[in-house]
Symmetry: C2
Subunit: 113 residues, 2 copies
DNA sequence: TAAGTAAATAATTATATACTTATATATCAA
DNA sequence: TTGATATATAAGTATATAATTATTTACTTA
């Protein structure tokens, strides 16, 4: 269970986690594959802002993308070298599934993805 | 062992941890009370830069200061509301005690503290 | 193939961050 | 009380960050 990670690597990852939007995105992607438009709906910020957050996560290899037709779904990369480290943080955060449920209730999830 | 922390609180703490200098400082302070001049010697940055990092950590209550004569020693606040959360990160980082040993060998630790 | 939708990228901007130098404050010791 | 040392604070600067709007690219479907 106990992992080890060099301090320079850890600080780079923690800096990425140290943004409320990205941290919430990661917590969601840990359970669900999500598309950009869902995040736009959830966080109420512009589509490019979401894309840019995802870009940073992807550049570090923390998330993976998968195109499904018109949409691109993002999800946690479980094979990342420091996945266990990231998990050790995420597992302490309250579940954010209510955000997905809210999308479903509003029909925003279905309409988009 | 498992803790819970709201996502907004977590992101604020993680942002502080997401700087290599501060993360290393915290790892050191988790075991040793350290004074500002030791950090200056270790990180080879200016004294005000160290003071400013410590200020941020102190503003969040993560560290405590204790004056001993001319010096002010900083150490981890074990009673912080999110101490367990911080620990869950720090315990995965390699021990940094070699940095203290190096100071002792150089005589920098004794001369200062 | 043309129109519509999803996402990425480019360019810009405002703010935050991490540092510097200069100065102020606090303690110690002669 | 004066000089030396340790730390904090102020002010300034260069860079990083997180957002925006405008545009491009990629896919789908009529």
């Amino acid at each position: 269970m106990q992992t080890t990670i060099e301090i320079d690597k850890a600080s780079i990852i923690l800096k990425l986690l140290g943004d409320e939007t990205r941290l919430t995105m990661l917590k969601l992607m840990d359970e669900h594959a999500c598309c950009v438009c869902e995040f736009v709906e959830i966080f109420q910020i512009s589509q490019p802002a979401i894309s840019q957050h995802l870009r940073k996560l992807k550049d570090l290899g923390l998330v993976e993308e998968e195109r499904r037709g018109q949409w691109i779904f993002y999800s946690m990369n479980n094979n990342h070298e420091y996945y266990a480290f990231i998990q050790s943080v995420l597992k302490q955060l309250p579940n954010q599934n209510y955000r997905i449920k809210k999308l479903e209730e509003e029909g925003t999830r279905i309409s988009c993805c």
